[in-house]
């Protein structure tokens, strides 16, 4: 039998002062950063426009992109441009362009919303300037056209003479099919961008005559927008409020459940520990200025559920040991419980960490914030179970038993005592 750790005999509780110092340091560091530098809120919460653009080759240098955007009326100082690479192939031909919420024109409710996509259109126009002007003047960019538009162009030009040969209705169907095949080839086989119109020869089910005609009216542009997100100010604000209230509500949910299954102080201790995890994780996000998106909040909520697992495992063991070994001091029982479950704690946290690490490495840009939050949260969550939840629970129980020993008058009558109180007294009366 391989063992990572033989059941150790560490006095965790004696380390509680050091743990509290470490946690305080982390919280203060995160807190100072949060108050001075704030959070890098993603567009989900801050509002704004985020566009993912894919280029045929290496994207143009940042300053040229900025310059092009500036010419479309976008303040170049406010644009954030972030190159991203495919985590699997390593190719770097995409950029994220992010614009903050527009401030001007927010008068009387709806003017921002009614032109929600002004920036998006400006970005599209800016990207178009990277195409050869001679082509743009006379031809249509096949890399940005939609299926409907493509069919429309086919119908007006009628390069195959289908309308005169077989009537308009039949031609519509036929051209629709060709447009489908071409767009599907572009989006699914070529990753959204055609390098060259000559590549279209590989599309099956489209007449060669049409493919040969296409260069007269089309060209393959340098860039295409592969995703665009625009969030208005109202949604951002609503989401901020909701994220906070749901996180708090789920903490209360945990508290109630654990209080119901154990004792209320276990619930309180666990919830303080989780709250600590959430705050530390947020603090780290502020420190490294990683963007907080909707997905990160989802990760934080998951963390709330996951982090409590370790706590429950240890509390469960404490409960069991309390029943079996009534003669021993609570401090020893808590210590032993942590030690007995330590190999499990490290193993499962480690294994979940493996799963999350692979998400962080291979999950791509969209999931990187999500997996970072989990990565940090799992480590902090494991630590806080030992360093925060257990000492709080122990401290409360000790304080309670001391108080009860001092003032036996307020002790409830034995008949009214709940089992948990009996248990507590049993531990207290040694």
């Amino acid at each position: 039998m391989y063992e990572l750790i033989k059941t150790p005999n560490i006095d965790w509780i004696r380390l509680k002062r050091k743990f509290i110092l470490v946690s305080l340091a982390l919280l203060v560091l995160g807190g100072v950063s949060a108050f001075t530098r704030g959070f890098n809120l993603g567009i989900d919460f801050a509002g704004g426009t985020l566009v993912n653009v894919k280029f045929k080759d290496t994207p143009p240098p940042e300053d040229r992109l900025r310059e092009a955007l500036g010419k479309q009326g976008i303040d170049p100082g406010k644009v954030i441009i972030q190159p991203i690479s495919d985590p699997i192939s390593g190719i770097k031909n995409e950029v994220l362009i992010r614009l903050p919420q527009r401030e001007a024109g927010q008068k009387a409710g709806s003017s921002v919303e009614s032109d929600l996509d002004v920036e998006k259109r400006a970005i599209l126009a800016a990207l178009n300037t990277f195409n050869p002007p001679s082509e743009v003047a006379t031809k249509v960019d096949l890399n940005t056209i939609s299926r409907d538009r493509l069919r429309e162009v086919f119908l007006t030009e009628d390069p195959l003479g289908l309308i005169s040969a077989s009537g308009r209705a039949a031609a519509e169907l036929e051209y629709g099919r060709y447009a489908d095949a071409i767009i599907r080839y572009r989006d699914q086989d070529q990753g959204g961008l055609l390098r060259d119109l000559a590549d279209l020869r590989a599309v099956s089910g489209v007449p060669t005559a049409l493919i040969q005609w296409m260069p007269q009216r089309f060209f393959a542009g340098n860039a295409a927008m592969i995703s665009a997100e625009i969030v208005g100010p109202q949604i951002g604000q609503e989401l901020r409020q909701r994220a906070i209230s749901v996180t708090l509500a789920s903490l209360v949910g945990m508290l109630i459940y654990i209080a119901f299954r154990f004792e209320w102080i276990y619930g309180v201790a666990a919830v303080i520990a989780i709250f600590h995890d959430v705050l530390v994780t947020l603090g780290i996000f502020s420190l490294v200025q990683k963007e907080i998106s909707l997905n990160v909040v989802a990760a934080l909520l998951t963390l709330v559920g996951y982090s409590v697992n370790d706590t429950i495992v240890i509390f469960d063991r404490v409960r069991e040991n309390l029943r079996l070994r009534r003669r021993e001091g609570l401090t020893k029982i808590v210590n032993d419980s942590i030690n007995q479950t330590l190999s499990r704690t490290i193993l499962t946290s480690g294994l979940t960490l493996l799963a999350v690490l692979s998400l962080y490495l291979f999950g791509g840009e969209v999931l990187s914030g999500f997996s970072l939050a989990l990565l940090v949260g799992i480590i902090v969550g494991t630590y806080s179970t030992i360093a925060i939840a257990s000492p709080i629970m122990l401290w409360w129980q000790t304080w309670q038993s001391q108080r009860q020993a001092r003032r036996p008058v307020v002790r409830p009558k034995p008949a009214e005592a709940t089992p948990s109180q009996k248990e507590r007294r049993a531990t207290a009366s040694r």
């Binding site: 039998m1 063992e3 495919d86 985590p87 699997i88 919303e113 009614s114 929600l116 998006k120 409907d148 309308i163 308009r168 572009r186 989006d187 699914q188 990753g191 959204g192 927008m225 995703s227 665009a228 625009i230 969030v231 208005g232 109202q234 949604i235 609503e238 994220a243 749901v246 996180t247 509500a249 949910g253 945990m254 459940y257 909707l294 997905n295 909040v297 989802a298 909520l301 998951t302 709330v304 559920g305 996951y306 409590v308 429950i312 469960d316 069991e320 479950t341 193993l347 499962t348 294994l351 493996l354 799963a355 999350v356 692979s358 998400l359 291979f362 999950g363 791509g364 969209v366 999931l367």
Partner: protein, 553 residues
Amino acid sequence: MSRKLRNRFLLIGGVTLIALYLLFGPFQFRDASGRITAQAIAANFTPSRLKKNLSENIKLGLDLRGGSHLILQVQTDDAVRSITAGNLEKARSILQQAGIKFTNITSPALGRIEVDLEDSAQIEDAKARITLDFGPGWTARNEGKRLIFEMKDEEMRDVRERATEQAMRIIEQRINAFGVAEPTIARHGPATGYQILLQLPGVDDPERVKNLIRAESRLELKLVHSGPYPSEEAARQAVGGTVPPDKEILPARERRRDPAAPPVQYYVVEKTPVITGDDLRNAQAVPSQAGGTVYEILFSLRPSGAERFYTATSANIGKNLAIILNNEIKSAPVIRDAIRDEGRIEGDFTKEEAEDLALTLRSGALPARVTYLEERTVGPSLGADSIRQGFAASIAGLAAITIFMLFYYRLSGVNAVIGLVLNLILLLAAMKIVGAVLTLPGIAGVALTIGMAVDANVLIFERIREELRNGKVPASAVALGFERAFTTIFDTNLTTIIAALFLFVFGTGPIRGFAVTLTAGLIANFFTAIFVSRAIFSWVLERQGGRPEALSI
């Protein structure tokens, strides 16, 4: 194998088969002629066929398959404002008819109308008459000679609610007619936000849909008094300098593509329309000439409208009739015959314009403007990339965990890995049953479930090892290990499900997908970690004669 154990394996096998069928079915055992043949059965199990079935059974979210996600808000103030304005006019005419004199009638705020009477003796009379007409949704009180009418709060909420519901129905009609496959149209956000969520799979250019939704197509047919004139001023001069209250001047942009036609002309028309969009029964786009690319809209009227149309046209033969769309005259043909129930709107439309216009005419006018709060578009190529990356991440996580478990727990690791794979199958089958969609965070949920599923196994295995270390024989160590780990696993899984529940409440789209995946995974985990794993252990112990000396763990 003991009978009890055999029943357990039968149950596990049955559940697995059902799950696999849900994922890869439905299967077709009969050939084209209806006979069951080996060939027909074999045709079900080709890789391409299985892949196709799988992709039909597991629906992908917008972020993976590509599409547009829009959140729009109904400006319900519009609906309240139009009701207030209508009531103001009603109050004015009631007072005029009853001969009650007033100096001023205004609406200083939404849902509030103030009337200043000349004679305070008539206050009660006026109040009673107007209250009777306004109905129970309004309150009335007076301050001196001023009568104040206010819409009740619950009435205002009702009006806003109705406007939102009506807008949703109209949008739904327009979207459906537009031909988007499987759109989602639902209320969104807080109850008083009057927001609507639209999810349009496969639409990677939301522009046209947005225009279609926002399009306000108000059709009016009015009799022409005189015209056309080259300018608005000329039209005003023609009616003596000031426009009479029952007439108005409207611009006309006919034949936009004809370079010879003047760009804008003006007509003086009757203010009251003969026919409005409400009288329409149907509208459709047709080519102006067979096979042409210029389109026009053919409309027909409901019986009541047709009657009015007939009366008006038969009385005005030889005059012009203005066909007005959104306050702009599209054409002003001469009435040659009495027309009963059909007409056409000519305007040099392209096919797309004409179709969208016909559609908005058919679905009626929105009760209030809509504005867009959020717009997200994912192209199909990004979705494909995300699937690839999410898949790679899940496989990498699964592989790393498998290698570790096999190395660390030896043969018992095989047990855990079987549980993991079964967990994944059950998770996906559960998603199919509840009709959940797989999103990118959902794939992350799968990867995370793999990590958490193994937690239950580790808990049990560590517990068994502990019992073995304490000198128990394998059989009782296994029994004790499962028994003691049970409550812990129950509590940990349930707390995570509670968190997932809040996630579901909080999130939309992708995040909900994540919450569903996580919950399904945790429930499946319960079955695999406790029931399946236990059965495999029992089988291993039984094969070694029930009381083996050692256990590979």
